[in-house]
Amino acid sequence: MTPLAACGTVGPRIRLGVACGLAFARLRDRFLHPWLMPNPGPVSSAPADRDLVAQAAAGDERAIGQLYDRYATVLYTVAYRISGQRADAEEVVIESFAQAWRDAARFEPGRGSVAGWLTMIARSRALDLVRARSRRERITQTAAADRPDAPLAMGAWRGDPADALDRTERGRQVRAALDDLSPPQRQAIELAFFEGLSQSEIAARLNEPLGTVKTRVRLGMQKLRTALRPFFFEQSP
């Protein structure tokens, strides 16, 4: 599939900075042939994420299927990164979408994007699961060696190629933005996000003053926000 063919399925979600979207828009503006763009067409065909959440809130479970198709990989990626176990990551993804289904009516668009909401649900569930596991291990004194599974088989997933392109591009940008932080800033932020440590716990773990950790988190996040604003899942109005 060529990149432009992949663009054919691009939804209305804002994908600033995604090479595919930009190339497509440029082409569309320059060569607006009727046979190329017979109608507003593919660009406006897919429902917006928040419309899907509204449908789910109204009891339509197919909406969850569509959200799954868009974001399952993101949720699974963060769940696997946190838990290190395929079975755990799957459990987290299931629980996350079940929670999204239950809480759909409470989703507030003003608080952020649907993708961000789903991602943070998965992160919380994954951290809960890891904490439960480590507590269990402490209790049973087994300290079982939970090593990450073997490398993952790739390519089994049949997602929207445009979504995959989006994800890859965004991931590249996020890693680049993290590389631009000072290593201590990056370390503090990653400990908070992926290990669920509070600032005090980070300070204890690193044997640093709490104030120093707080400053690293604050400045690091501000810097990330500036760098990543063009790549947010949704742009604020």
Partner: protein
């Protein structure tokens, strides 16, 4: 470059969005958040930033079978048996769960109970459904039996010896048409109407026998939307010379004398 922080509660926005505040700190920050739209906007952006951190991890692909498991879980949750988590911070990280193990055990027990409940509710539903289907089929059978019996009796009255057929028509047209199967021996008739226009509300068709040159009121009837009707056991005047039968449209309930022109008429054979 340690600028003195904690001069403003707003400095905690980043840690809050990242889920790096203690439960107590998070609660305090939320009460501040309620007072400041600017801070809410900032937190929204910082949350988007935090969510993007998920994509810094090496991409992992879920098993293709996971989609069906997710949808099953959602379908099971359609009953919505579990109270959803507190509304204040539905899904953003902040509060630490006091004891994940206890919660896990509780959740497992609840899930099992709910699973059993759902299953027995489904079975009960299924049984009720079957019962109602059987009852429906029994009713249908009884109804068909009744219709058959009625048809038999109609056939019998039409085919019994001595029954004569009288056709009532509008000036000889084939439709609309009324057939009177006249059982002269028992002074009864069976009326069968076809292709009659249904009458407006408050009106009815009425059958008349012309006896000794005068109309004698008989039954009133209405037709089905298709224009058909069957009336059995219509009494035919026994005394006197009955020369014809006719149909008019009358007010509901019928009239002692015809109030409208005759629509259909047919002569009865003389004895």
């Amino acid at each position: 470059m340690s600028t003195p922080d904690e001069t403003s509660p707003r400095d905690l926005a980043a840690a809050y969005a990242l889920g790096a505040l203690s439960a107590e700190e998070a609660r305090a920050f939320e009460s501040y958040l309620a007072t400041s739209p600017e801070a809410r906007q900032e937190v929204a952006e910082l949350r988007e930033t935090a969510a993007l951190l998920a994509l810094s991890a090496p991409e992992a692909q879920p098993d293709p079978g996971l989609r069906a498991r997710v949808l099953d879980a959602v379908a099971a949750g359609k009953v919505r048996p579990l109270p959803a988590p507190p509304a204040t911070v539905p899904s953003w990280p902040a509060a630490r769960r006091p004891s994940p193990l206890v919660w896990g055990a509780l959740a497992a027990a609840l899930l099992a109970a709910v699973g059993l409940g759902v299953r027995s509710a489904r079975l009960a539903d299924e049984l009720a459904q079957r019962d109602s289907t059987i009852a429906q089929q029994t009713r249908t059978l009884a109804e068909q039996g009744r219709q058959l019996a009625a048809r038999d009796s109609t056939l019998e009255s039409v085919l019994s010896p001595g029954v004569e057929l009288v056709q009532l028509t509008a000036s000889g047209d084939p439709d609309p048409r009324i057939q009177l199967f006249w059982d002269r021996q028992h002074n009864t008739a069976l009326l069968r109407a076809s292709k009659l226009k249904p009458v407006p509300p408050g009106r009815t068709y009425q059958l008349w026998f012309i006896k000794d040159g005068k109309p004698v009121p008989s039954v009133t009837f209405n037709v089905a939307p298709a224009g058909d009707a069957v009336i059995s056991q219509v009494s035919v005047p026994a005394e006197g010379q009955v020369s014809a039968a006719a149909v008019t449209e009358e007010p509901a309930g019928g009239s002692p004398q015809p109030t409208t022109p005759v629509l259909l008429v047919g002569a009865l054979p003389k004895t």
